[in-house]
Protein backbone atom coordinates (compact mmCIF):
# COMPACT_ATOMS: atom_id res chain seq x y z
CA UNK A 1 0.00 0.00 0.00
CA UNK A 2 1.29 3.41 -0.90
CA UNK A 3 0.45 4.88 2.48
CA UNK A 4 -2.03 7.43 3.68
CA UNK A 5 -2.94 10.19 1.36
CA UNK A 6 -3.69 13.00 3.68
CA UNK A 7 -4.07 12.83 7.41
CA UNK A 8 -6.07 15.48 9.19
CA UNK A 9 -4.52 15.87 12.58
CA UNK A 10 -7.56 17.52 14.06
CA UNK A 11 -9.98 14.73 13.25
CA UNK A 12 -8.38 11.82 15.00
CA UNK A 13 -9.55 9.48 17.70
CA UNK A 14 -7.72 7.31 20.17
CA UNK A 15 -7.91 3.58 19.89
CA UNK A 16 -6.75 1.41 22.72
CA UNK A 17 -5.27 -1.77 21.33
CA UNK A 18 -4.91 -3.84 24.43
CA UNK A 19 -4.21 -4.57 27.25
CA UNK A 20 -6.56 -7.34 26.19
CA UNK A 21 -6.59 -7.61 22.45
CA UNK A 22 -6.28 -10.69 20.27
CA UNK A 23 -3.42 -9.24 18.25
CA UNK A 24 -1.09 -8.40 21.10
CA UNK A 25 -0.60 -12.01 22.29
CA UNK A 26 -0.39 -10.98 25.88
CA UNK A 27 -0.87 -8.04 28.11
CA UNK A 28 0.43 -5.25 25.95
CA UNK A 29 -1.28 -1.96 25.32
CA UNK A 30 -0.76 0.28 22.33
CA UNK A 31 -2.45 3.64 22.39
CA UNK A 32 -3.10 4.54 18.80
CA UNK A 33 -4.07 7.93 17.50
CA UNK A 34 -6.16 7.04 14.49
CA UNK A 35 -7.44 8.83 11.47
CA UNK A 36 -10.00 6.37 10.21
CA UNK A 37 -8.01 3.22 9.52
CA UNK A 38 -4.68 5.03 9.47
CA UNK A 39 -2.42 5.31 12.47
CA UNK A 40 -1.24 8.84 13.11
CA UNK A 41 0.71 8.14 16.23
CA UNK A 42 1.20 5.09 18.38
CA UNK A 43 2.41 4.81 21.91
CA UNK A 44 3.30 1.49 23.43
CA UNK A 45 2.43 1.15 27.10
CA UNK A 46 4.38 -1.54 28.85
CA UNK A 47 4.55 -2.94 32.31
CA UNK A 48 1.25 -4.70 32.84
CA UNK A 49 2.91 -7.91 33.87
CA UNK A 50 6.17 -6.64 35.23
CA UNK A 51 7.54 -9.20 37.69
CA UNK A 52 10.86 -7.69 38.74
CA UNK A 53 13.05 -10.50 37.51
CA UNK A 54 16.09 -8.25 37.73
CA UNK A 55 15.48 -7.47 41.36
CA UNK A 56 14.81 -11.12 42.07
CA UNK A 57 18.17 -11.82 40.49
CA UNK A 58 19.77 -9.54 43.04
CA UNK A 59 17.93 -10.98 46.02
CA UNK A 60 18.43 -14.64 45.31
CA UNK A 61 21.49 -16.79 45.07
CA UNK A 62 22.75 -17.59 41.60
CA UNK A 63 21.28 -21.10 41.36
CA UNK A 64 17.99 -19.83 42.69
CA UNK A 65 17.65 -17.38 39.81
CA UNK A 66 17.90 -20.18 37.24
CA UNK A 67 14.18 -20.93 37.03
CA UNK A 68 13.42 -17.24 36.59
CA UNK A 69 15.22 -17.14 33.27
CA UNK A 70 12.81 -19.66 31.79
CA UNK A 71 9.93 -17.42 32.75
CA UNK A 72 11.19 -14.56 30.65
CA UNK A 73 10.25 -16.09 27.38
CA UNK A 74 7.92 -19.02 27.66
CA UNK A 75 8.44 -20.09 24.06
CA UNK A 76 12.22 -20.07 23.83
CA UNK A 77 13.13 -20.64 27.46
CA UNK A 78 16.22 -22.72 26.77
CA UNK A 79 18.13 -19.90 25.08
CA UNK A 80 17.68 -17.55 28.01
CA UNK A 81 18.89 -20.07 30.56
CA UNK A 82 21.83 -20.67 28.27
CA UNK A 83 22.81 -17.03 28.53
CA UNK A 84 22.63 -17.13 32.28
CA UNK A 85 24.70 -20.26 32.76
CA UNK A 86 27.30 -19.05 30.27
CA UNK A 87 27.61 -15.77 32.12
CA UNK A 88 28.03 -17.43 35.50
CA UNK A 89 30.44 -20.02 34.14
CA UNK A 90 32.57 -17.29 32.69
CA UNK A 91 32.39 -15.31 35.92
CA UNK A 92 33.12 -18.16 38.28
CA UNK A 93 35.53 -19.90 35.93
CA UNK A 94 33.70 -23.20 35.72
CA UNK A 95 34.78 -25.64 33.04
CA UNK A 96 31.98 -27.27 31.07
CA UNK A 97 32.40 -30.78 29.67
CA UNK A 98 32.18 -31.01 25.93
CA UNK A 99 29.22 -33.36 25.89
CA UNK A 100 27.21 -30.91 27.94
CA UNK A 101 28.03 -28.12 25.52
CA UNK A 102 26.81 -30.16 22.57
CA UNK A 103 23.62 -31.17 24.28
CA UNK A 104 23.03 -27.54 25.19
CA UNK A 105 23.41 -26.47 21.59
CA UNK A 106 21.03 -29.21 20.41
CA UNK A 107 18.47 -28.25 23.02
CA UNK A 108 18.69 -24.55 22.28
CA UNK A 109 18.21 -25.19 18.57
CA UNK A 110 15.28 -27.53 19.17
CA UNK A 111 13.74 -24.86 21.31
CA UNK A 112 14.41 -22.26 18.63
CA UNK A 113 12.49 -24.37 16.13
CA UNK A 114 9.61 -24.91 18.48
CA UNK A 115 9.49 -21.20 19.20
CA UNK A 116 9.57 -20.27 15.53
CA UNK A 117 6.90 -22.84 14.75
CA UNK A 118 4.61 -21.34 17.31
CA UNK A 119 5.38 -17.87 16.05
CA UNK A 120 4.59 -19.01 12.53
CA UNK A 121 1.20 -20.27 13.57
CA UNK A 122 0.38 -17.25 15.66
CA UNK A 123 1.53 -14.91 12.92
CA UNK A 124 -0.68 -16.51 10.31
CA UNK A 125 -3.50 -16.37 12.82
CA UNK A 126 -2.86 -12.63 13.15
CA UNK A 127 -3.47 -12.49 9.44
CA UNK A 128 -6.70 -14.41 9.82
CA UNK A 129 -5.66 -17.93 8.84
CA UNK A 130 -6.36 -20.30 11.67
CA UNK A 131 -5.39 -23.69 10.31
CA UNK A 132 -1.60 -23.23 10.01
CA UNK A 133 -1.51 -22.60 13.76
CA UNK A 134 -2.89 -26.07 14.35
CA UNK A 135 -0.40 -27.67 11.99
CA UNK A 136 2.45 -25.76 13.61
CA UNK A 137 1.35 -26.79 17.06
CA UNK A 138 1.20 -30.42 15.97
CA UNK A 139 4.80 -30.25 14.80
CA UNK A 140 5.85 -28.36 17.87
CA UNK A 141 4.30 -31.08 19.97
CA UNK A 142 6.87 -33.57 18.69
CA UNK A 143 9.68 -31.27 19.76
CA UNK A 144 8.11 -30.67 23.15
CA UNK A 145 7.77 -34.42 23.63
CA UNK A 146 11.46 -34.84 22.88
CA UNK A 147 12.40 -32.14 25.31
CA UNK A 148 10.04 -33.32 27.99
CA UNK A 149 11.56 -36.77 27.91
CA UNK A 150 14.95 -35.24 28.70
CA UNK A 151 14.22 -32.21 30.83
CA UNK A 152 11.03 -33.32 32.53
CA UNK A 153 9.20 -30.17 31.59
CA UNK A 154 7.42 -28.87 28.54
CA UNK A 155 7.74 -25.13 28.64
CA UNK A 156 9.86 -23.73 31.45
CA UNK A 157 12.72 -26.14 31.24
CA UNK A 158 15.32 -25.09 33.83
CA UNK A 159 17.56 -27.76 32.37
CA UNK A 160 20.99 -26.15 32.30
CA UNK A 161 23.10 -26.04 35.42
CA UNK A 162 26.25 -24.12 36.15
CA UNK A 163 28.92 -26.30 34.65
CA UNK A 164 26.65 -28.71 32.87
CA UNK A 165 23.22 -30.15 32.68
CA UNK A 166 20.49 -31.40 34.94
CA UNK A 167 20.47 -34.86 33.39
CA UNK A 168 21.92 -36.67 30.43
CA UNK A 169 20.28 -37.52 27.14
CA UNK A 170 19.82 -41.18 26.23
CA UNK A 171 19.80 -43.09 22.98
CA UNK A 172 16.02 -42.85 22.82
CA UNK A 173 16.29 -39.10 22.60
CA UNK A 174 18.95 -39.23 19.90
CA UNK A 175 16.99 -41.69 17.77
CA UNK A 176 13.74 -39.84 18.25
CA UNK A 177 15.37 -36.55 17.29
CA UNK A 178 16.84 -38.10 14.18
CA UNK A 179 13.37 -39.29 13.29
CA UNK A 180 11.78 -35.91 13.90
CA UNK A 181 14.19 -33.96 11.68
CA UNK A 182 12.97 -35.30 8.29
CA UNK A 183 9.41 -34.95 9.47
CA UNK A 184 9.97 -31.29 10.26
CA UNK A 185 11.61 -30.76 6.88
CA UNK A 186 8.51 -32.16 5.24
CA UNK A 187 6.31 -29.89 7.31
CA UNK A 188 8.37 -26.85 6.38
CA UNK A 189 7.75 -27.69 2.73
CA UNK A 190 4.06 -27.96 3.47
CA UNK A 191 4.05 -24.55 5.12
CA UNK A 192 5.85 -23.11 2.12
CA UNK A 193 3.11 -24.36 -0.17
CA UNK A 194 0.23 -23.59 2.13
CA UNK A 195 1.28 -20.20 3.42
CA UNK A 196 4.40 -18.70 1.86
CA UNK A 197 3.22 -19.19 -1.68
CA UNK A 198 -0.31 -18.04 -0.97
CA UNK A 199 -1.16 -14.90 -2.89
CA UNK A 200 -3.29 -13.41 -0.12
CA UNK A 201 -0.48 -13.93 2.35
CA UNK A 202 2.13 -12.40 0.08
CA UNK A 203 -0.05 -9.42 -0.72
CA UNK A 204 -0.41 -8.74 2.96
CA UNK A 205 3.30 -8.80 3.69
CA UNK A 206 5.21 -7.70 0.62
CA UNK A 207 6.47 -4.13 0.90
CA UNK A 208 4.45 -3.67 4.05
CA UNK A 209 5.78 -2.75 7.46
CA UNK A 210 9.17 -1.43 6.47
CA UNK A 211 11.81 -1.56 9.20
CA UNK A 212 15.08 -0.22 7.85
CA UNK A 213 18.56 -1.08 8.99
CA UNK A 214 18.93 2.45 10.37
CA UNK A 215 15.85 1.99 12.49
CA UNK A 216 17.18 -1.31 13.78
CA UNK A 217 20.44 0.35 14.77
CA UNK A 218 18.63 3.25 16.37
CA UNK A 219 16.48 1.06 18.59
CA UNK A 220 18.87 -1.82 19.04
CA UNK A 221 16.68 -4.33 17.27
CA UNK A 222 18.33 -7.70 16.78
CA UNK A 223 17.49 -11.17 15.67
CA UNK A 224 15.23 -11.90 12.72
CA UNK A 225 13.98 -8.30 12.72
CA UNK A 226 17.47 -6.97 12.02
CA UNK A 227 18.31 -9.80 9.65
CA UNK A 228 15.15 -9.06 7.71
CA UNK A 229 16.46 -5.53 7.32
CA UNK A 230 19.72 -6.71 5.78
CA UNK A 231 21.87 -6.58 8.90
CA UNK A 232 24.05 -9.66 8.93
CA UNK A 233 24.30 -10.01 12.66
CA UNK A 234 23.91 -13.17 14.66
CA UNK A 235 25.61 -13.61 18.00
CA UNK A 236 26.28 -17.26 17.18
CA UNK A 237 28.52 -16.17 14.29
CA UNK A 238 29.70 -12.71 15.30
CA UNK A 239 30.56 -13.40 18.93
CA UNK A 240 30.70 -17.19 18.97
CA UNK A 241 30.01 -18.91 22.24
CA UNK A 242 29.60 -22.49 23.39
CA UNK A 243 30.31 -24.95 20.56
CA UNK A 244 28.74 -22.95 17.77
CA UNK A 245 32.07 -22.43 15.92
CA UNK A 246 32.14 -26.21 15.40
CA UNK A 247 28.94 -26.19 13.38
CA UNK A 248 28.48 -25.39 9.75
CA UNK A 249 25.39 -23.25 9.32
CA UNK A 250 24.29 -20.12 7.52
CA UNK A 251 22.69 -16.97 8.77
CA UNK A 252 19.71 -16.15 6.55
CA UNK A 253 19.65 -12.45 5.69
CA UNK A 254 17.06 -10.67 3.58
CA UNK A 255 17.32 -7.10 2.38
CA UNK A 256 13.69 -6.27 1.64
CA UNK A 257 13.04 -4.78 5.11
CA UNK A 258 9.36 -5.75 4.90
CA UNK A 259 7.25 -8.13 6.93
CA UNK A 260 7.79 -10.90 4.40
CA UNK A 261 11.58 -10.64 4.84
CA UNK A 262 11.25 -11.14 8.57
CA UNK A 263 8.94 -14.07 7.95
CA UNK A 264 11.39 -15.65 5.53
CA UNK A 265 14.32 -15.19 7.91
CA UNK A 266 12.54 -17.20 10.56
CA UNK A 267 11.44 -19.90 8.16
CA UNK A 268 15.00 -20.27 6.89
CA UNK A 269 16.36 -20.23 10.42
CA UNK A 270 14.34 -23.33 11.23
CA UNK A 271 16.08 -25.14 8.40
CA UNK A 272 19.48 -23.97 9.65
CA UNK A 273 18.63 -25.07 13.18
CA UNK A 274 17.78 -28.50 11.83
CA UNK A 275 21.23 -28.59 10.24
CA UNK A 276 22.86 -27.68 13.55
CA UNK A 277 20.92 -30.38 15.37
CA UNK A 278 21.94 -32.99 12.81
CA UNK A 279 25.59 -32.05 13.13
CA UNK A 280 25.33 -31.92 16.89
CA UNK A 281 23.88 -35.43 17.03
CA UNK A 282 26.66 -36.70 14.77
CA UNK A 283 29.41 -35.05 16.76
CA UNK A 284 27.98 -35.70 20.22
CA UNK A 285 30.97 -36.91 22.28
CA UNK A 286 30.81 -39.29 25.22
CA UNK A 287 31.72 -38.16 28.65
CA UNK A 288 30.35 -36.57 31.76
CA UNK A 289 27.75 -33.87 31.71
CA UNK A 290 28.89 -32.16 34.86
CA UNK A 291 32.43 -31.02 35.62
CA UNK A 292 34.43 -32.99 38.18
CA UNK A 293 35.36 -29.92 40.11
CA UNK A 294 32.58 -27.53 40.80
CA UNK A 295 32.44 -25.01 43.62
CA UNK A 296 29.81 -25.91 46.16
CA UNK A 297 28.70 -22.34 46.53
CA UNK A 298 28.87 -20.12 43.51
CA UNK A 299 30.54 -16.85 44.37
CA UNK A 300 31.97 -15.16 41.29
CA UNK A 301 34.93 -12.89 42.02
CA UNK A 302 34.27 -9.17 42.16
CA UNK A 303 33.74 -7.92 38.64
CA UNK A 304 31.42 -7.06 35.83
CA UNK A 305 30.41 -9.84 33.46
CA UNK A 306 28.42 -9.80 30.27
CA UNK A 307 27.29 -12.59 28.03
CA UNK A 308 25.20 -12.33 24.89
CA UNK A 309 23.44 -15.25 23.25
CA UNK A 310 21.25 -15.54 20.21
CA UNK A 311 17.81 -16.60 21.31
CA UNK A 312 14.83 -17.21 19.08
CA UNK A 313 13.90 -13.55 19.27
CA UNK A 314 17.29 -11.93 18.97
CA UNK A 315 20.35 -11.09 20.96
CA UNK A 316 19.79 -11.64 24.64
CA UNK A 317 22.37 -10.08 26.93
CA UNK A 318 22.89 -10.72 30.59
CA UNK A 319 25.09 -8.53 32.73
CA UNK A 320 26.09 -9.57 36.18
CA UNK A 321 27.96 -7.28 38.56
CA UNK A 322 29.36 -9.37 41.33
CA UNK A 323 30.51 -8.10 44.69
CA UNK A 324 31.93 -11.45 45.61
CA UNK A 325 28.94 -12.66 47.61
CA UNK A 326 26.50 -15.38 46.68
CA UNK A 327 24.00 -12.82 45.37
CA UNK A 328 24.57 -10.59 42.40
CA UNK A 329 25.01 -6.90 43.05
CA UNK A 330 23.38 -6.03 39.75
CA UNK A 331 21.52 -8.39 37.50
CA UNK A 332 20.65 -6.77 34.21
CA UNK A 333 18.81 -8.47 31.40
CA UNK A 334 18.84 -7.08 27.91
CA UNK A 335 15.88 -8.72 26.32
CA UNK A 336 15.58 -8.66 22.54
CA UNK A 337 11.83 -8.24 22.31
CA UNK A 338 11.98 -5.05 24.34
CA UNK A 339 14.22 -3.44 21.73
CA UNK A 340 12.26 -4.94 18.85
CA UNK A 341 9.02 -3.66 20.30
CA UNK A 342 10.31 -0.16 20.89
CA UNK A 343 10.65 0.50 17.19
CA UNK A 344 6.99 -0.28 16.63
CA UNK A 345 5.87 3.23 17.58
CA UNK A 346 7.96 4.82 14.90
CA UNK A 347 7.53 2.12 12.28
CA UNK A 348 3.74 2.02 12.34
CA UNK A 349 3.13 5.72 11.83
CA UNK A 350 0.98 6.30 8.78
CA UNK A 351 0.16 2.63 8.32
CA UNK A 352 -3.26 1.09 8.23
CA UNK A 353 -4.22 -0.73 11.38
CA UNK A 354 -4.34 -4.17 9.80
CA UNK A 355 -0.89 -3.74 8.28
CA UNK A 356 0.46 -2.39 11.54
CA UNK A 357 -0.85 -5.40 13.44
CA UNK A 358 0.60 -7.71 10.81
CA UNK A 359 3.93 -5.97 11.33
CA UNK A 360 3.55 -6.36 15.06
CA UNK A 361 3.08 -10.05 14.48
CA UNK A 362 6.23 -10.19 12.38
CA UNK A 363 8.22 -8.77 15.31
CA UNK A 364 7.53 -11.98 17.24
CA UNK A 365 6.54 -10.47 20.54
CA UNK A 366 6.54 -12.40 23.76
CA UNK A 367 5.21 -9.99 26.31
CA UNK A 368 6.60 -11.52 29.54
CA UNK A 369 10.00 -10.99 28.06
CA UNK A 370 9.36 -7.27 27.52
CA UNK A 371 7.89 -6.82 31.00
CA UNK A 372 10.46 -8.98 32.67
Amino acid sequence: MSGPIHIRKDETFTLNVGPQHPATHGVLRVKMEMDGEYIVKAETVLGYIHRMHELMGENRTYPQVLPNLSRLDYLGAMGYTHGHVLAIERAAGIEVPERAEYIRAIMVELNRISSHLFWFGAFVMDLGGFTPLMYAIQDREHILDLMEAVTGSRLTYCYFRFGGLYNDVDDDFINATRAVIPMLRKSLKKYDALVTGNIIFRKRLEDIGPISAEMCRKYGATGPVARGAGLDFDVRKNEPYSVYPEFDFDIPVYHECDSLARYKVRMDEMEQSLRIIEQGLDKLPDGPIMPKKKPKLIKPPVGDYYQAVETARGSFGIRIVSDGTKNAYRFKLRSPTYSNMSLFDEACEGMMIMDALAMMGSLDLVIPEIDR
Binding site: E148, G152, T156, Y166, L194
Partner: protein, 156 residues
Protein backbone atom coordinates in the same frame (compact mmCIF):
# COMPACT_ATOMS: atom_id res chain seq x y z
CA UNK B 1 -1.46 -6.71 -19.66
CA UNK B 2 0.48 -9.97 -19.60
CA UNK B 3 1.64 -9.30 -16.06
CA UNK B 4 -1.95 -8.57 -15.05
CA UNK B 5 -3.21 -11.93 -16.26
CA UNK B 6 -0.20 -13.91 -15.10
CA UNK B 7 -0.66 -12.47 -11.61
CA UNK B 8 -4.29 -13.52 -11.57
CA UNK B 9 -3.38 -16.95 -12.86
CA UNK B 10 -0.49 -17.50 -10.43
CA UNK B 11 -2.60 -16.21 -7.59
CA UNK B 12 -5.38 -18.65 -8.36
CA UNK B 13 -2.85 -21.44 -8.68
CA UNK B 14 -1.37 -20.68 -5.25
CA UNK B 15 -4.86 -20.70 -3.77
CA UNK B 16 -5.57 -24.06 -5.39
CA UNK B 17 -2.37 -25.50 -3.93
CA UNK B 18 -3.42 -24.34 -0.47
CA UNK B 19 -6.86 -25.86 -0.89
CA UNK B 20 -5.26 -29.11 -2.00
CA UNK B 21 -3.19 -29.29 1.17
CA UNK B 22 -6.11 -28.72 3.51
CA UNK B 23 -8.21 -31.19 1.52
CA UNK B 24 -5.59 -33.88 2.04
CA UNK B 25 -5.43 -33.09 5.75
CA UNK B 26 -9.21 -33.42 5.92
CA UNK B 27 -8.98 -37.17 5.42
CA UNK B 28 -6.11 -37.82 7.80
CA UNK B 29 -6.87 -39.15 11.26
CA UNK B 30 -7.15 -36.81 14.21
CA UNK B 31 -4.06 -36.35 16.32
CA UNK B 32 -5.53 -35.02 19.52
CA UNK B 33 -6.17 -36.84 22.76
CA UNK B 34 -9.66 -36.22 24.20
CA UNK B 35 -8.18 -35.07 27.48
CA UNK B 36 -10.57 -35.67 30.31
CA UNK B 37 -11.59 -39.04 28.89
CA UNK B 38 -8.11 -40.15 28.03
CA UNK B 39 -4.91 -39.05 29.64
CA UNK B 40 -1.35 -39.46 28.56
CA UNK B 41 1.28 -41.19 30.61
CA UNK B 42 3.92 -38.73 31.66
CA UNK B 43 7.50 -39.43 30.78
CA UNK B 44 9.77 -40.88 33.45
CA UNK B 45 11.52 -37.62 33.99
CA UNK B 46 8.40 -35.54 34.28
CA UNK B 47 8.77 -32.95 37.00
CA UNK B 48 5.57 -32.66 38.97
CA UNK B 49 5.34 -31.47 42.53
CA UNK B 50 7.54 -33.21 45.05
CA UNK B 51 6.82 -36.26 47.16
CA UNK B 52 8.67 -37.78 50.08
CA UNK B 53 10.36 -41.13 49.64
CA UNK B 54 10.10 -43.75 52.33
CA UNK B 55 12.79 -46.06 53.61
CA UNK B 56 12.42 -49.77 54.29
CA UNK B 57 10.51 -49.13 57.50
CA UNK B 58 7.91 -47.05 55.79
CA UNK B 59 9.24 -43.92 57.45
CA UNK B 60 10.32 -40.92 55.39
CA UNK B 61 13.96 -40.98 54.37
CA UNK B 62 14.15 -37.31 55.14
CA UNK B 63 16.50 -36.33 57.94
CA UNK B 64 15.11 -32.80 58.17
CA UNK B 65 18.40 -31.15 57.28
CA UNK B 66 16.55 -28.28 55.58
CA UNK B 67 18.67 -28.16 52.43
CA UNK B 68 15.62 -28.20 50.20
CA UNK B 69 14.11 -25.38 52.16
CA UNK B 70 17.20 -23.27 51.62
CA UNK B 71 17.56 -24.18 47.97
CA UNK B 72 13.98 -23.34 47.08
CA UNK B 73 13.83 -20.05 45.19
CA UNK B 74 10.21 -19.44 46.04
CA UNK B 75 10.31 -20.48 49.69
CA UNK B 76 7.44 -22.88 49.29
CA UNK B 77 8.80 -25.69 51.44
CA UNK B 78 8.45 -25.55 55.20
CA UNK B 79 9.43 -28.40 57.44
CA UNK B 80 9.67 -29.02 61.15
CA UNK B 81 11.39 -31.68 63.16
CA UNK B 82 11.90 -32.77 66.72
CA UNK B 83 14.79 -34.42 68.42
CA UNK B 84 14.26 -38.00 69.44
CA UNK B 85 16.59 -39.91 71.68
CA UNK B 86 17.28 -43.45 70.73
CA UNK B 87 19.64 -46.11 71.86
CA UNK B 88 22.16 -47.74 69.69
CA UNK B 89 24.73 -50.36 70.35
CA UNK B 90 28.25 -49.13 69.81
CA UNK B 91 31.11 -51.51 70.54
CA UNK B 92 29.04 -53.67 72.78
CA UNK B 93 27.54 -50.97 74.95
CA UNK B 94 24.30 -49.10 74.62
CA UNK B 95 24.56 -45.40 74.02
CA UNK B 96 21.88 -42.78 73.84
CA UNK B 97 21.94 -40.74 70.69
CA UNK B 98 19.82 -37.95 69.36
CA UNK B 99 18.39 -37.71 65.92
CA UNK B 100 16.01 -35.41 64.15
CA UNK B 101 12.68 -36.78 63.08
CA UNK B 102 10.50 -35.08 60.54
CA UNK B 103 7.22 -33.92 62.01
CA UNK B 104 5.93 -31.69 59.29
CA UNK B 105 6.73 -31.26 55.62
CA UNK B 106 4.52 -28.74 53.90
CA UNK B 107 4.69 -27.80 50.27
CA UNK B 108 2.92 -24.65 49.21
CA UNK B 109 2.31 -25.64 45.61
CA UNK B 110 0.74 -22.29 44.75
CA UNK B 111 4.15 -20.65 44.68
CA UNK B 112 6.20 -23.63 43.52
CA UNK B 113 7.78 -23.13 40.11
CA UNK B 114 8.63 -26.81 39.59
CA UNK B 115 12.32 -26.04 39.07
CA UNK B 116 13.54 -29.13 40.86
CA UNK B 117 16.24 -27.40 42.91
CA UNK B 118 14.97 -29.11 46.08
CA UNK B 119 15.33 -32.60 44.64
CA UNK B 120 18.80 -31.78 43.40
CA UNK B 121 19.93 -30.28 46.67
CA UNK B 122 18.79 -33.26 48.72
CA UNK B 123 21.82 -35.26 49.78
CA UNK B 124 19.77 -38.23 50.98
CA UNK B 125 17.55 -38.90 48.01
CA UNK B 126 14.56 -38.32 50.20
CA UNK B 127 12.32 -36.43 47.78
CA UNK B 128 11.23 -37.11 44.25
CA UNK B 129 8.88 -35.74 41.62
CA UNK B 130 5.36 -37.02 41.44
CA UNK B 131 3.69 -37.66 38.10
CA UNK B 132 0.51 -35.78 38.93
CA UNK B 133 -0.39 -33.23 36.35
CA UNK B 134 -4.11 -32.73 36.26
CA UNK B 135 -4.29 -30.73 39.42
CA UNK B 136 -7.18 -28.34 39.45
CA UNK B 137 -9.22 -26.84 42.19
CA UNK B 138 -11.23 -23.80 43.06
CA UNK B 139 -9.58 -23.42 46.43
CA UNK B 140 -6.09 -22.24 47.19
CA UNK B 141 -5.93 -24.44 50.27
CA UNK B 142 -6.08 -27.57 48.14
CA UNK B 143 -2.54 -26.84 47.04
CA UNK B 144 -1.00 -26.67 50.48
CA UNK B 145 0.23 -30.21 50.45
CA UNK B 146 1.10 -31.99 53.65
CA UNK B 147 3.62 -34.39 52.21
CA UNK B 148 3.94 -36.47 55.38
CA UNK B 149 0.22 -37.14 55.28
CA UNK B 150 0.39 -37.98 51.60
CA UNK B 151 3.12 -40.48 52.36
CA UNK B 152 1.00 -42.06 55.08
CA UNK B 153 -1.98 -42.26 52.76
CA UNK B 154 0.14 -43.88 50.11
CA UNK B 155 1.26 -46.52 52.55
CA UNK B 156 -2.15 -47.10 53.98
Amino acid sequence: MGAYFSEIFLGLKSLAIGLGITFKEFFKPVVTVPYPYKTLKMSDRYRGHIELIENEDGKPKCVACGMCQRACPSGCISLASKSVEYEVEVKGEMKTKKKKVLTKYDLNFTTCSLCGQCVESCGFGAITFSKDYNLASFRKEDFHFDLLNRLKERNA
